[in-house]
Chain length 134, copies 6
Amino acid sequence: MKVCRRETFNSAHRLFREEWSDEKNKEIFGKCSHPNYHGHNYVLEVWVDGPIDPMTGFVIDLKILKQIIHEHVLERFDHRNLNLDCPEFKELIPTTENVAAVIWNILRSKLDDKFSLEVQVQETEKNKVLYTGN
Amino acid sequence: MKVCRRETFNSAHRLFREEWSDEKNKEIFGKCSHPNYHGHNYVLEVWVDGPIDPMTGFVIDLKILKQIIHEHVLERFDHRNLNLDCPEFKELIPTTENVAAVIWNILRSKLDDKFSLEVQVQETEKNKVLYTGN
Amino acid sequence: MKVCRRETFNSAHRLFREEWSDEKNKEIFGKCSHPNYHGHNYVLEVWVDGPIDPMTGFVIDLKILKQIIHEHVLERFDHRNLNLDCPEFKELIPTTENVAAVIWNILRSKLDDKFSLEVQVQETEKNKVLYTGN
Amino acid sequence: MKVCRRETFNSAHRLFREEWSDEKNKEIFGKCSHPNYHGHNYVLEVWVDGPIDPMTGFVIDLKILKQIIHEHVLERFDHRNLNLDCPEFKELIPTTENVAAVIWNILRSKLDDKFSLEVQVQETEKNKVLYTGN
Amino acid sequence: MKVCRRETFNSAHRLFREEWSDEKNKEIFGKCSHPNYHGHNYVLEVWVDGPIDPMTGFVIDLKILKQIIHEHVLERFDHRNLNLDCPEFKELIPTTENVAAVIWNILRSKLDDKFSLEVQVQETEKNKVLYTGN
Amino acid sequence: MKVCRRETFNSAHRLFREEWSDEKNKEIFGKCSHPNYHGHNYVLEVWVDGPIDPMTGFVIDLKILKQIIHEHVLERFDHRNLNLDCPEFKELIPTTENVAAVIWNILRSKLDDKFSLEVQVQETEKNKVLYTGN
């Protein structure tokens, strides 16, 4: 049984590699490499897989999952500049793939081992990613 | 090849355990334990996995899947109070997890064994569950 | 310039008139008159029309509008039974129209007279109403 | 890590088998067999599964995936009659299942073998299919 | 008080003027003039404005509005080719504007004069129109 | 008859007044005043009101309206930092209200006087504004 909590956060970011020229960055990342940043309404879906607790009828109390997401993910990334404010992305380009992997690693360390975890991050209506830890 | 039919139903429910005190119910279930019930627009996605019939181009005729869902799920739960009107939840707390498992079991018994079945139930824009029978 | 804040609440309700027979209630309200209640995820849009404050660039600070909605609308109706828990609907059938008019009246008394107000309430994906106070 | 690109296309189609009588077509395909065609806003989700390239932070550049989808899928099917204009459906009934399988085969041949591929096609708000190639 | 009922229908159509050359049609209507038709999932919102009936709490019973829409709009246009099957569009190009005006006129004649009427038709996620009869 | 074109753009921004202290900015704008910017997927709806051209069946060719929006709005604001890159917001705080008014003024100057214009800008799922030029 898998359960999902959906949250959103709003961040600025920019895709570029310091060791590449502006031309190379533009070629690979297009307008996403624009120097003064742009931003997104990220939509986060956190899926937790585990057995139903027969006493509560819950896999995990979604109020608690919500608290974990707020404390450890939204507090870090919401209304922030991923490149400038977030040490996780000092050496890591904040593509949606890397954002999802970083969030997965954060949440994995906060959840009991009996749960499996999947993290979906939607960057725009047209682009999203899903990370299962493999 | 998996095919999906989406339906909705509107029900009242309450989360609580009779053997627990009001304080304990409130601690675990929060405002969902409110005594006079509240309700939801449940969104149900039924996914059926099987081979394509080469004559029809269908895995399963979605008109027939729709009829099965209407007759065996919506007739029971739509515009009902899950706690008071539905014997399935006399002993089982109507969490989204349990609602999904109950619907999965109902539909499993109505579908040919050649099909795999997944049931997703969305309770609110933020909370949903997926049950695959395991 | 009109600004909108969207919020949601989950309530149980039932449509019926005490002075009518069960048959009459069933004829007019259909399955919405079911005695043990059903429920909805109501989606509320509150539109406020007024001039832009040149210092803030806001018509109204949506954080403040959100607080007003939470304190005066969601606290009353979210996770409640509209018929049993809410005195506003002791004598008034909780149709979507009446829910919208009640919310409009609550919010009208909390907002400065310089603002116009519109309230939209969506009961299901297929049914919604808009009230402008006229 | 799986990444998804969402695109849409608008096509006319009709479900029927030439060797069947009108009655038989009507029985199996209902109003979808209407002779003068009807149509849909198809929503296509293309999911590509693979490792993250450490230099770009991408599994696959979604601008490139978008180009592949536009050139090989949308150019063929968007604003077309699937039955009359598309040789893929000369002998194959354009059910959503078959549309998804055809698109999967087209895209499979355009993608590097290191990627896994899933194709989801939504025909209406209520009906969708997912094909993984098995 | 305005109430809204949302319905959908799936139709094929083509935009072209017989008296124009193919080049002129292509210039004005682009790929929408493709000869073998394409199609859409039209989303229809019917808004009715009137006083609340104090006995029912309804402006209009949405079950009755639904029946009117089904009988007079969906029966005519759903799973049809607007150009070939619908006499309303024999002389009138089935643009979204004209589809909305035709539906408005149909519904206007079926509704009591005490109601105002607005019809919104969405053709794609990006294009929609609203007609109020003026 | 009103027609609507929907487009999206992704921008970074920050709400603050230079002449105010950090405390005052924080009090009024909350986390939106964060110095390193955050961002949004803005959803823009442009509504144009006018008569139907009897030759085309269009109020305005939406392909042309799309081009106007792309050339004069998206080229300026998409993948940009509204505060740093856009002279329109050098002296004007980029609240959603001001973004909508700026876009309205840009588009008003590009459209024939026979058309009325409304601009809706959605900043998040919960916040949006509508500007009609008054």
